[in-house]
Symmetry: D2
Subunit: 316 residues, 4 copies
């Protein structure tokens, strides 16, 4: 077979074998190398480099309703293994993380149902996941108790508030991050059930959450990083907050991986290509970057299994 | 033609005529009534009812990079005409609104270009819109001056900070909202160039922005509303912050229109159906709600032209 | 305002006015010029040039379930006005065109319903359009009668078969095309209710439909065209069949407009960029081409109204 | 933990382990059970039932540019293992299957390139896959030779033509199908490079390809099936042709799995839910059906690896 110079490597037709590991499957996707399957394999390569670069600070962005879908376990595991240095999340993911950590569950439901009937049954729906209102009763107890333990008259940053919550939990993202000393940022904390609980609490207490108090610490971390990498599950506030944080430094991110189901042509940040971020200097000119366009409930577990397999093989 | 009872109205094949108005076109889409074209027509019907209900409080959510795409002019116009009572925006849209208001422009570029070359030319890209760095120089001057006018040691809410900015501008969303007394909320203000400017300012000044200080006012507005309507351009924080604000009241929203290019099956809030919001009580059980799945740079102008045409016809 | 040389024209914030025409709205989208709204305006510009180029042969591709959604009326109108020289359609659109032409209707239903209940009610669903089985009873009568009029033992091309059907109808796409002498191609005719009816007919008759008999005529048209333009609603077989037809000539298409809701990164032809078609030579190197990513039930009527307004203004 | 009766099973947070098999990963997705990750796991369950039902006839639909992306190898393997009884494909996939089978290759390229430069280099692009023109030179030789071996004056069905091609090849989809006696249907064969080659051939030869000659055999297969299952990669003609083929029988499909990146709300068949097919009777009322919305270059290999692992475990 003559391979023209201008072309790359040949596409190898995928061979699947019964019992193949997730890592072997991703290797096969890489040898095929096309569309989002190929991008996924390249993203695993890049993630591996990011995680094995001893000079890199690893940022992790968590958007989309990932915890209700069972993806929080992987984030907690990555925190436990030391693969996340800075976490930025939506308020919703942290709300659902608390709900799981206090012993409540989300349930496998269906998207094909009457939401009015669910309302009558006191069940909240997140696509095909069900969450009974009862969970929010327990959540309210936990949150109000946790908030009440804050010193009256104090001023906290959002990250400090979240570390306080994490210190009172034993499992999950906030708990693991607190135990490992990983800061968790959540710029739009008001926009969540945690925020509504805080509104309740603030009707009778005076603890100030300073919206901007987290920025100096986060930006110092950026200024101090030799190299920085970003792994972004979904877009939204976490993606932008992570990417903009490097804007003030002379460097941009050196590594970036993005898992999203959105599309670039609508102009929104969530679907924007990582190349676009180069024009702003959020990514370094020569940064390695891969976007995988697909549902992260498929791509994130597959990629995590594959990258852990590779890291273990290296250390084996 | 015999129309079976079980079926609805017949689909009328669309007839377009040279010179037809936007309103007449939307009426034709309504008589066809299928897919997102039909949804768009039903959404205009619903928006009209929302705007002519004298008891309704009208919330407006603005996400996606809409101002760089020229959609901010419509929002300012709706504010001017009194069709928005509460505005919730991303920080990015407000940043770009300030940029336009201080006399800088966004440019029609292309998505098909080298972002590294753009970086060298000091041009930032938002899909196919270009924004020269020079605009951010002027933006910094304006912001630092505006922030410097805040009393040292004071504590403000985000909405108060934005009203302060709006009072120093003459055109655009923030200026019009300030002049009309419409509150503008932006829970994730840190996650924007306004946030980065504030970080700069806060290195030498002490003005506290209390992240939660806006919630009592917003929720009081919700408790006081006889009926509430939401018009949501894009999802993100504005969508959730608006919808969750009614969660604490006994009512949910009575009207809701959503323009989004996202999809429901990924589980994220931005693409979630409005029906899902009924299970949570964010929408009232019997609420009227329509989602139009398409790029809002097409649907929003068409719908705005059509609804203004109808309102004028009513008052003519 | 200083406009940097490297940038294009400034984005003009959209102003909508009550009573503005579809054409004026599209002009405003063009002055904003961003994302798919901007693309739509550029596509109208291009379509206008294609329709006013006296040397151009105009191909029109019709995929997606457009006739059930009421978009067939616009296609018939474009045929009537002489704006389509060659039409390529899916079998489904032609099936539904016949159904409308014989006096049956599609109905505005809902996508939120029980399909099992619909089955019991003998109603077929196309997203939110309902079609009672009764229509297929009449359809069968019409088709069997029409087929029976074909000379036993004859050999026809698919285009000849469709022209025969069109000659027996008075309104709609097939009828108008037949009256105007515009050939209608449908490579996958078997894949439709027309195909199933033919299977029924062929159990007792012997008329051969030669799958390839249309290609010489189509390709001769391509060889003879000074310039060729393609307007593609949806992708599928019509898009590829039109684009590949120019592959054998030395030219590619000089103009191409594509309306699609699909996305490029999945590798499928329906969502592929028109640039990709340049590498194959389906489009000429310097061809003008615009894709509008959105639901065609919104974009197609808006664009048709705008382009007809412009053509009338020229001739006014 | 108290599980409310109305809810289903709890969402189990996903645990990934280094070295876990593809099957174990899919099992973990199934225990989480949400969004498309959950759908993928349910689809593997269903595919397994379909493949182990001794009474079921298994239809397989292949649309999208899957062979250039390396997915053809899996289809050939499924044919080899006896997991496909009837195959319906687009012409493009068969064209690229022939290209691989005659020893040419597709190459891993990039979507971020100049298509005009590619044109000058005689390279054709399919998203990020490159295919040199040289391959089409060899393809032409093979096709013309193969066509020339057909008896002058004969009449063939498309399936017979494809079986003839398959009998002259040694590897790939057509070759394996021919060797295993699995019929391959391709209603829109004209709409492909095979079609263009046939047009060339037909300029000097007289072999008639009867467009409808395949339908009796296909429909007899449907009438004779105790139960039928459909596995659909992509939509397009293969999806509809497979689903409509059961329409004439009293049963519909009993099993259906669909992998697609399209969306339902645009009304097109490719993104349509399988529920919609119940209203038509294409699926039986009680049919088991799952759609996985994501790029098939990720989902198809993962699902194939998982289902083969399960089948081997059963027989182990």
């Amino acid at each position: 077979m003559i391979i023209p110079m201008e072309c790359g490597e040949p596409v190898r037709q995928v061979e699947v074998r019964p019992g193949m590991t997730a890592g072997a499957l991703v290797d096969a996707l890489g040898r095929a190398g096309a569309y989002n399957g190929g991008a996924l394999a390249r993203a695993v390569d890049l993630w591996e480099r990011m995680l094995t670069d001893p000079e890199a600070v690893r940022f992790f962005g968590l958007a989309g309703a990932m915890v209700p879908a069972g993806m929080g376990g992987i984030v907690a595991d990555l925190l436990e293994r030391g693969h996340i240095d800075v976490l930025v999340s939506t308020g919703a993911n942290l709300t659902h993380d608390v709900i799981e950590a206090i012993g409540c569950a989300h349930y496998r439901g269906t998207a094909d149902c009457s939401d009015v009937a669910l309302r009558h049954d006191e069940i909240n729906r997140i696509y095909d996941v069900f969450l009974p209102n009862a969970a929010f009763v327990r959540f309210e107890e936990f949150m109000q108790e946790a908030f009440a333990a804050l010193p009256e008259g104090s001023v906290l940053s959002i990250q400090e508030l979240l570390a306080h919550l994490g210190s009172r939990l034993e499992t999950g993202i906030l708990a693991t991050a607190a135990r490992k000393g990983v800061p968790v940022y959540c710029p739009a904390i008001q926009d969540s059930m945690i925020g509504l609980q805080y509104w309740l609490f603030a009707q009778t207490h005076r603890v100030t959450i300073d919206a901007f108090r987290d920025m100096p610490g986060l930006l110092d971390r950026c200024f101090g990083a030799e190299r920085a990498g970003a792994f972004l599950v979904g877009g939204g506030v976490p993606k932008n907050y992570i990417l903009q944080s490097m804007l003030m430094t002379e460097n941009g991110f050196a590594y970036a991986v993005q898992l999203t189901g959105d599309r670039p042509d609508l102009g929104g940040l969530s679907g924007a290509t990582l190349d676009e971020a180069r024009s702003w200097g959020k990514l370094a000119e020569g940064a390695e970057a891969v976007t995988v366009y697909a549902d992260a409930t498929i791509t994130f577990p597959l990629m995590a299994a594959a990258v852990l397999e590779r890291l273990e093989a290296q250390h084996g």
